[in-house]
Amino acid sequence: MAKLSYAKALNKALADELERDPAVCVLGEDIAAGIAQLTLGLAQRFGPDRVTDTPISEQAFTSMATGAALCGLRPVIEFQIPSLLFLVFEQIANQAHKFSLMTGGQVAVPVTYVVPSSGSRAGWAGQHSDQAYSLFAHVGVKTIVPAMPSDAYGLLVSAIRDDDPTVLFAPALAMGVREDVTTQLGPVPIGSARVHRVGSDVTVVAVGGCVHDALAVADELSDEVSVEVFDPRTVYPFDWEALAASVDKTGRLVVIDDSNRSCGLGGEILATVAEEMRLVAPPKRLGRPDGAVLPFALELDRAVQPGRDQLATAIRAVMK
């Protein structure tokens, strides 16, 4: 059985799409060297016209990708640092995302933005540790947060083939994960969830790196409670149908994700479940505190991340 690492899965997905479609190209900083792993070896294989190093001008090259997409290319952009998404929010949310509607459907902007290592990387402090997927979900940009290597592969392939701008967050906590891959790797549809562990008492919705925490806690509590671990994989559009099927069965809900609490993804999940589904106990959500800025010291960094102990406590609380 082959073990596939998350970083290798992303790299392979990008290589396969570059091979398959000559319209696919990659722009970013230090991507010829492959410092963020996503593009390792690809500039050598596909040449500098397909895998193009840019100067440190994130706003310009993000909109250049939009212009190139308007002319038939399918650019992929790598951002080494998750907080760069704040810098290019104008170019993604206000330009690329709006072109299709504003032009009355004259154009598509098939650009994929990849952040290899989003969220806390332990020790990278305030401006390198954000997990801003809720922000993109809020403005309606397709937003993907794979937890598993096979999903990282399949969702990156789908994002590149998709006709809309799509942001893929590869959580730092998941980048080192390895998975036994037993089936042929292939595209994973955007907007479809995956249940990693079937359970009957409580649905734990876990996003990105938190999926691995949820699986560990579910194992740990297996003698007392049957936990279903639900991974949306895509946070926008969200697979509400699959969540309804899970919650209909369990009637209980805990959400764990590492976005900030206020206006974060967890709040949207709780709200939609409250409006449209049936719970037998009040739900819980775990995330970073309201408006958190990640402090540097490791103890402080961890103190603002949702953790396994908190998840176990929350699961027990909804079971009472």
Binding site: Q59, F61, S63, C71, L101, G104
Partner: protein, 325 residues
């Protein structure tokens, strides 16, 4: 594809089209048929017409919030443009874009853009795609003096120079960023910014369409030949307000005397003097008829169906959840 450079009659006709279109649009703003107002292009016609007169049909442009002139000069249908301003289903953007986002991609118009300077890197990306594909298309990005202090414009200049992309930066310096005089906002000059990146730049009289045309022709030819970007600064003036909202408020950021001084150099009068009075009358009448028809078309066009308000939000066809369920 050979380009036949338009002569005085054609240049005058295009400027007359834009002037009369804007006058018509102003009437429709006043009558309430255009909501949200417009940024009138009156006074600056020589820039759009001079530059677009040397472009091929398959060349591309990006435009600005004050974009009607560029869009018309690149060949958009005035009736569908007016319908777009009126928010009709037959508009260029099916009523989804309005004045500040008018686009006609089939005619190489990648869209007006409502964020100052934001279109420059989009134009650079289009030029990058053209160059990669082996095409000799050229991309023109129009922007105002207000964009000279936007970072993305400078980033785009660096990248286009570095990668020798076929982009013509056209700075329409009309003396004001909304109400702020250029002198109060810009340290250095447009040409100086270009020079810093090794981009050839010229500053020309933006009220004389033939001067603009001649300068643009050289820059476009250079870009097409693979010599990379150029910058063309056109000194011009808007006779009207920054935006029609000014009609409802009394702003005093420039004097009547200043406006009158610039009126003496009206681009339509400068070019109009180069054709015969008979020719001019004929073109004026032709444009009047054309705009009457455009206006009738726009007014007779249906409003878009509110049930499709978010059609085209996703090119892939994804439907957004409703706000109320």
């Amino acid at each position: 594809m050979a380009v036949i450079t338009p002569g005085p009659a054609d240049l005058y006709r295009q400027m007359r089209l834009i002037r009369s279109f804007e006058e018509c649009a102003l009437r429709l703003v006043k009558s309430g048929e255009i909501v949200g107002g417009i940024h009138p292009y009156i006074g600056e016609e020589a820039v759009a017409v001079g530059v677009c007169s040397v472009l091929r049909d398959d060349d591309l442009i990006t435009s600005t919030h004050r974009g009607h002139g560029h869009v018309l000069a690149k060949g958009a249908d005035p009736g569908r443009m007016l319908a777009e301003l009126c928010g009709r289903a037959t508009g260029l953007n099916r009523g989804r874009g309005g004045s500040m986002h008018a686009a006609d991609v089939g005619r190489g118009i990648l869209g007006a853009n409502a964020i100052v300077g934001a279109a420059a890197p989009i134009a650079a990306g289009a030029a990058w795609a053209a160059k990669r594909s082996g095409s000799d298309r050229v991309v023109v990005t129009f922007f105002g003096d207000g964009a000279l202090n936007q970072g993305v414009l400078l980033e785009a200049m660096n990248l286009t120079a570095l990668w020798r992309l076929p982009v013509l930066f056209v700075c329409e310096n009309n003396g004001y960023a909304t109400t702020m005089p250029t002198a109060a906002a810009v340290a250095g000059t447009a040409a100086g910014r270009a020079a810093a990146f090794g981009i050839p730049a010229v500053t020309v009289d933006g009220m004389d369409v033939e001067t603009v045309q001649e300068a643009a022709a050289g820059a476009v030819a250079a870009a097409r030949a693979g010599d990379g970007p150029s910058l063309l600064e056109c000194l011009t003036y808007r006779y009207g307000p920054h935006h029609t909202i000014e009609f409802r408020m009394k702003l005093s950021y420039r004097t009547e005397q200043e406006i009158e001084r610039w009126r003496l150099r009206d681009p339509l009068e400068i070019e109009g003097a180069r054709i015969t009075a008979t020719e001019r009358d004929r073109l004026d009448a032709e444009i009047a008829d054309l705009l009457n028809a455009a206006q009738e078309f726009a007014k007779a066009s249906p409003d878009p169906d509110p049930s499709g308000a978010l059609d085209y939000l996703y090119a892939s066809g994804l439907r957004a959840r409703a706000g109320v369920r």
